[in-house]
């Protein structure tokens, strides 16, 4: 029996983790610094370690599991009883579920860009260069985006802790035993069954759980950082109008730019009507972004 998994499926799984990472890291531009550190930890210490090292340690978990009996079927049944789900599959599912909330933020950013495009088209500035500018624009984490970001981090923490709990309930000890005793049908009496590579598996289990803990700490730190920043903004500046919706800031900044353009061009035509504030008051305030 081969001890290493065959090359083709390995390449497929590497390709898929790679494209998964590409999708997740697209959100990186709109994350905080701690968010970027978290993403690197996920990729280097969890995904890479899983694909490059852990999968070969657990590769022969079933073929290397031997019981002290010649009774056919006893091996299968005892393996199934002691390993309802393999560590590798649990970690793969954990990584997928923990990384997905970041896509919530990506969807929100895409929605904002869509609204921005619509506003620019209404203002009559729909040249390809301006549209490119919208695509590359970096959004600040304020208003509704702040809430989406917070919710995504809270979901990350919930999934992370839920999987740690599931892990603890299925495998109560982090240490992998060398020997398990099994007496399910069709094994005659109680048989000794031996697990393959228990020490190596223990080392990797402890490593993955430790990195999981570090990720939870990073997420908690990010939550506190965002709350701290929001409080500072609330107490600090009325200039930013942090309570104002992002959309009204956008509209007023567009009006501001329109008026500047009109003054510069000495043009009489205007696509927006200036309604609430007088031009001098708007001139004193700096544009929202």
């Amino acid at each position: 029996t081969p001890l290493a998994p065959p090359a083709e499926p390995d390449l497929e799984s590497k390709m898929n983790w790679g494209s998964f990472y590409a999708v997740i890291s697209g959100v990186n531009r709109h994350s905080t610094g701690i968010g970027r550190v978290w993403l690197s930890v996920i990729f280097i210490f969890r995904i890479l370690v899983l694909v490059v090292a852990a999968e070969s340690v657990w590769g022969d978990e079933k073929s290397g599991f031997t019981c002290n009996t010649q009774q056919p079927g006893c091996n299968s049944v005892c393996y199934d009883q002691f390993f309802p789900i393999s560590h590798i599959r649990l970690w793969a599912l954990q990584l997928i579920l923990v990384s997905t909330p970041a896509l919530l933020v990506a969807m929100h950013v895409a929605h904002r860009r869509h609204i921005d495009k619509k506003l620019m088209k209404r203002a009559g500035r729909s040249s390809p260069k301006e549209l490119e500018q919208i695509k590359n624009q970096k959004f600040q984490i304020i208003g509704a985006l702040w809430w989406t970001y917070m919710i995504s981090i809270i979901f990350r923490i919930i999934f992370e802790v839920a999987f740690l709990y599931i892990f603890y309930s299925i495998y109560p000890d982090f240490k992998m035993f060398r020997l398990v005793k099994c007496d399910s049908y069709p094994c005659p009496n109680t048989v000794d069954c031996f697990v393959s590579r228990p020490t190596e598996k223990t080392i990797f289990t402890v490593f993955m759980l430790a990195v999981s803990g570090v990720c939870v700490l990073l997420n908690v730190a990010e939550v506190l950082y965002l709350i701290g920043r929001a409080c500072k903004r609330c107490l600090g500046g009325s200039e930013d109008e942090s309570k104002g919706a992002w959309i009204s800031q956008r509209l007023s900044s567009h009006r501001q730019n329109e008026i500047n353009q009109l003054i510069a061009d000495h043009s009489l035509k205007s696509k927006f009507t200036v309604t609430k504030k007088s031009p001098t008051e708007k001139g004193e305030r700096c544009s929202a972004f």
Partner: protein, 214 residues
């Protein structure tokens, strides 16, 4: 041709879908294709080599495996994912047809590239194409889930099956490898499939409601 190639095709066709359609595509690729390739394929990897029967009779294991597993779960899921992704290509074909037809009408005035870059609103014949593609997606999803349920008598994988096909002598016990892990993944994939069906139904209701209000 592999899963990433399919993804590129679908993402191109996705420009003309609603937001629910984009969410559906992400759920399809992250919770179904990724989980299939990264986790499920290794669980079912040794399904035949580790299928052991309590007999030394040659050929008995092969015959019993074939009786209880006419089509493997993995192959059924791969087929399901391919069939479910295909209706989106209907929409892509219609959009390409429209672009070429508009280019012929407008002749030299407009470049084909500019036509390709515009985003068509979901109205008229495009609406009907899109609605048909959603209905086909629902049919394929439901059809494959039902087929899996019927072939394997539910989503649970037993540890032990009893087989008495020729050449097995009398009734023999045959043991399936990793039944619990297989049950967990079968339930996971069935749940993801149902979520996709719910998303498709919501999208269908949304475009019907939009058309009615118009």
């Amino acid at each position: 041709m592999s899963w990433p190639a399919l993804y590129t095709q679908l993402v191109g066709a996705n420009r003309h879908s609603t937001s629910l359609g984009k969410v559906w595509l992400s759920v399809l690729f992250i919770f179904r294709v990724m989980v299939l390739v990264v986790a499920a394929e290794s669980v079912w990897g040794d399904e035949q080599s580790d299928f052991t029967c309590n007999t030394l009779q040659p050929g008995c294991e092969n015959v019993c495996y074939d009786q209880f597993f006419p089509v493997s779960h993995i192959r059924l899921w791969c087929l399901q994912l391919l069939f479910v992704s295909t209706p989106t290509l209907l929409v892509a074909m219609y959009v390409a047809f429209r672009n070429h037809r508009d280019k012929k009408r407008l002749l030299q005035e407009v470049e084909l590239e500019t036509l390709k870059r515009r985003r068509l609103p979901i109205a008229g014949a495009l609406w009907w194409t899109y609605a048909c593609s959603l209905v086909f997606r629902l049919l394929f999803e439901g059809g494959f889930m039902y087929a899996l349920y019927v072939v394997y008598d539910g989503f649970h994988m037993p540890r032990l099956v009893q087989c008495d096909q020729w050449p097995c002598p009398n009734l023999v016990d045959c043991f399936i490898s990793r039944p619990t892990e297989k049950t967990i993944f079968t339930v996971f994939m069935a749940t993801a499939s149902s979520i996709c069906m719910v998303l498709n139904m919501a999208e269908l209701a949304y475009i019907i409601a939009k058309a009615v209000t118009r």
